[in-house]
Symmetry: none
Subunit: 253 residues, 2 copies
DNA sequence: GTGTTAGCATTGGTCCTACCAATTTAGTGG
DNA sequence: CCACTAAATTGGTAGGACCAATGCTAACAC
């Protein structure tokens, strides 16, 4: 399924729940046996995941008691700013496009092979919202950033991805624009980016990456507009309920 | 002695060996089975210790191969990466140009006034290498980044500036290309950037910023080449001193 | 002689079961 | 109602087993 370690996948899932606020600071996580059962892995794997999370400062494991979520301040990587999904995507549109353009001039054949396998993995992922797909997507973009041959570029895009993964609002926004059709479209875009890199076409790589993020940005804006419309509709319904129910005859939702 | 978890004790011992240089970056640690035997613990415990070390960035575990000590730069306590001045300048060339292009569409009049005064300050600075000039330069670029209206963009350029200021090698490289003539040229470039922003000309702002960094990058490359030539000259002189002084008549220089 | 390939040994990844130790909870006796 | 004890829960460690990926090596083909 994924070439990621299994315990890493479990750690990521737990981390996500912590970042999303499902488990709040001070909360006690379910027991190791319970988590193992829930996630369909062995207790050893859950233990390994919890040890990794503890090393990263997300939780504190107390023998005989349980694992507790720590305060965000004590996390090892807590200095990322609060940005909206639209801002972040715009920044990635600008920066990752340039990174791709640079990568097209420096990328090696082995790196191209790696990207090809990632494109395949992503195209085969059934459930789009799953961890494997997200991780493959992340690795795809970070591999391109690395192929630029510029550590500063790589570092920059890594920190943008940290915002993408760790900020709950950004994560939600991505989930909201996820659909079967979108997944196919995204697959085509990844393919286009790969093709441009394979041809060492710097300009085409920039354009392909720009289109990738432009489409994403457009989807997000449409989605938020649709959500706003829906919110208005709900509010209107409530108002109708409140202000029109005094006329029994007029009720018609 | 050990109110710690056993795996943490093992992790500490391994970490100390890494920090003491017993295991150097790139080295492969003994296998899990071997370490377990050496330290008198189970393989599970060794695995847990290695997972904790990996989460802290000390080692990288490769399935089927072994656990390898990572470069000190990639440890989690090292917040900013180790980059060369050329890499950083290239990254800034790419990213700050896009930030300027974005800023041209969003910048306010008051922000423009602020930039104008900064341009004046920098043009009047006598000693170019002084702190005031550096700070004004920094504020000039960060103000533009802020004018983009995108927090992610602003954050990114701020972190690039941290590398610019905090990394000694980068700092030195900038000092090396500093001269009276360069300062005047730099002033003209800042003026050009400001003019483009004032005209809300996105494309011109991008180009002006690109030219600014391209010139800087060129200067750095020339400078490092000149330095390399100088180093060769010094080395040649030393060789001359060492190998030719046996002939007293030939000494010249 | 060279390059390729097939096979084998090593190594990490995961799981299971069992038992120990610390903690928490339930219960009990005062 | 409180203090103390016993049982249940929970994390900690161990050993063994099997799988998959990696790396080495020797045999093979050219």
């Amino acid at each position: 399924m994924t070439d990621l370690r299994l315990y890493q996948s479990v750690a990521d899932r737990l981390q996500r729940k912590i970042l999303d606020g499902v488990y709040q600071p001070g909360d006690r996580l379910p027991g190791e046996r319970e988590l193992a059962d829930e996630m369909g892995v062995s207790r050893v794997t859950v233990r390994e995941a919890e040890i990794a999370l503890q090393a990263m400062g997300y939780i504190l494991v107390k023998p005989g008691s349980g694992a507790y979520v720590t305060e965000p301040a004590s996390r090892h990587d807590a200095d990322i700013p609060t940005v909206s999904a639209l801002e972040l995507t715009q920044a990635r549109l600008l920066f990752e496009s340039e990174a791709a353009a640079l990568a097209a001039r420096n990328i090696s054949d082995t790196t191209l092979d790696r990207l090809a396998s990632l494109v395949t993995v992503m195209s085969q992922s059934h459930a789009d919202g799953d961890d494997a797909s997200l991780m493959a997507d992340r690795e795809f973009h970070l591999t391109i950033a690395g192929a630029s041959g510029n550590v500063a570029v790589q570092y920059t895009i890594e920190s943008l991805w940290r915002m993408r993964v760790e900020l709950a609002n950004v994560h939600d926004a991505h989930d909201a624009v996820c659909s079967e059709a979108m997944a196919r479209e995204r697959g085509r875009e990844h393919q286009a980016i790969y093709d441009a890199l394979k041809n060492r076409d710097s300009s085409a790589a920039r354009t392909a990456m720009q289109q990738h993020f432009t489409r994403l940005l457009t989807s997000m804006i449409d989605s938020s507009e649709a959500k706003a419309v829906e919110a208005l509709r709900v509010q209107a319904a409530a108002s109708r309920q409140r202000y029109l129910t005094v006329f029994p005859k007029s009720e018609s939702v």
